[in-house]
Structure formats: C-alpha cells, structure tokens
Amino acid sequence: MSEVIVITSGKGGVGKTTTTANIGTGLALLGFRTVLIDTDIGLRNLDVVMGLENRIIYNLVDVVEGNCRMKQALIKDKRYPNLYLLPSAQTRDKTAVNPGQMRKLTEDLQEDFDYILLDCPAGIEQGFQNAIAGADRALVVTTPEVSAIRDADRIIGLLEAADMRSVDLIVNRIRMDMVRRGDMMSIDDVADILAVNIIGAVPDDEDIVVSTNQGEPLVDTDSLAGQAFLNICKRITGEAVPLLDLNPQRGLLLRLSDFLKRA
C-alpha cells in the first residue's frame, strides 16, 4: 500500500527540504519505491539538496498543465535505483496549481510508488494548502527554538482541522551540549508543549552543510545526523527503533576541558 507524506513546518529555515531529501533517500535505501515532490513553486530547492539540479527539463507545473507526461518530468536518481524527484517550477508562483490538481497528481503517483513525499513551502497560504491536499500523513519539522515551536503548534492545529490522518514531529538541529547546560529545550520539553508523537530527533551536525554543498544526502553515511534520519525512515515504515543517543563520542581533551569548566 502506498502512503503520501507531507513534510511541513510553518516557519522557514528549520530544515524541511534537508529532511525531505534525507528521509526520501533513506526510504529508497530501505528498498521502497519513493518519489519526492518539491511543492515550493517559485523557490525550488529540493533538486539542489539532492544534487539533481542539472537534470531538470520539465517540472510539476508542466505536468499539471499537460505540457509533458509525468514520466518526462520525473528525474531518476542514478545513485539509488528506487528514488525519483518531481522538481518544482522556478519561474511560476503558488497560484499555478490548486489543491484539486495536487490531489490528482498524488493519486496518479500512488500506482507506481510506495512512498510519495511532499516538500511543503514555508507559510500557511496556498502553497501549504496545495502540499497537504493529497497527503495521508504529515511530518512537522521544528527546531528547539521558541519561534519554530510556536509555528509548529499552529501548523499542527491546521493539519488537525484539515483531518490529517496522522501527524508526527521531528525535532531538528538539537545540540546536546546546550541542552546539558540548560540553554536549549530538550526533546522532552518540546514533546510536553506540543503534545504530539515525536518520530525522531536530529542533531545539529556540520556534516549537513557539507552534504548540501555537495548535493549528496547524508542518510547513508555514518554521521550522527545520517543515522538519526535513517532511524526516522524505519519508524515511518512501522519498525520500532529506540531513540538514538545524540551525545557524540567525545575525546579525552574535550571531556577534560568540560570538567575544568565545571570545576
């Protein structure tokens, strides 16, 4: 059975696109036929994070308007046999498609794919309405910051009002050193405030910047963020995976300096 999942957040810059790229790649790695749809019309970026930007000829709006067939617009990722991308249009805006067309588009894709992931634009306007229209399930991405959590709460409310079947939370860019110092909300703090299931937490990791520079998702690397994303993928498929220990392996020197600071 195929599942349509929207990745959303309300606030911009919390890591929706990076999350979509890594979860999509992870699901493909686990053997599921997966397609990623960039619904951010006018500000497309998922292609860049995936490293597939040079292969775009047709896009989502071309498919909706009938300028090309779906097969012509889908970009097959040569690195992962099960992974496809439907890129967004860069020279149009959110009014170029409507929720009914998006619902039709995702229905068509369900015949060929196990997972259909929609990367939602920031905001709660038409772009958001388009992205959630065909989705059965939502993953809300937030960071442990006041502004992002407030927006996540608003988005969760809107998703519930739209009868979204299931809503889970991803806490991104968590820094365990700051949580330990008491300068950052912990995963449990966020869970208490939002009262929603947490499907995973991803540490703030320099490797994410390098991976985006190179256009190579890091879900199949041994970085801590990569492992966190792969665990989220497994939980999406229904596997019970315990939460990852986000405390990185620290060398003796760093531990000594921590100890001296505390003393």
């Binding site: 390098v210 520079n213 256009g215």
Partner: protein, 92 residues
Amino acid sequence: MGRIFCFHKSNSGKIATNRLKMMLISDQSGCAPGLIEGLREELVEVLSRYIEFDSGKIELCVTHTECAESKDRMSAISAVIPIRRFTNMRKG
C-alpha cells in the same frame, strides 16, 4: 584529529560555489537547467573537433544588456573556453 589541526582541507565550499553559478545562470535566463547542461555538453562535443581544451574549465554566464538601437533589454549567453591548443585536423 585531522580536523582540529587542519591537516585535511575539504573542498565542499568550492563545489557549492560552482554549483551555485550554474543554478543562477538557469534562474536568470529562465531556461531549464537540464537544457543548459545539454547546451554545455553539446558545445564541448562540437568544440573538441576543432580545439583542445579542458572541458571542466568552461565558464558559461548570462549577462543582461540594453540593445544599442532599440533600447530593449536583452540577455546574452557567453562561454569562456580556455584553449590548450588548436588541432590541425578536424576530428569526428
């Protein structure tokens, strides 16, 4: 340890800069990046019949100018191809 003492220097920042240049060409010209990439590949194919050059060092850029006569804004695409040497025989 390598990271701390900068023994290992990563080049992903440079990769990012080069990728961005190509993206901006596409964005500013409104031309699909797949088509620009196709243009680049075919340029390399045709030019290599006449000259020897490093295909990785081709620079494409889009400039916006005003046409001298009609004052219309127009875009121009230009390619800089550092030549290693001219070949004396036409290949292919």
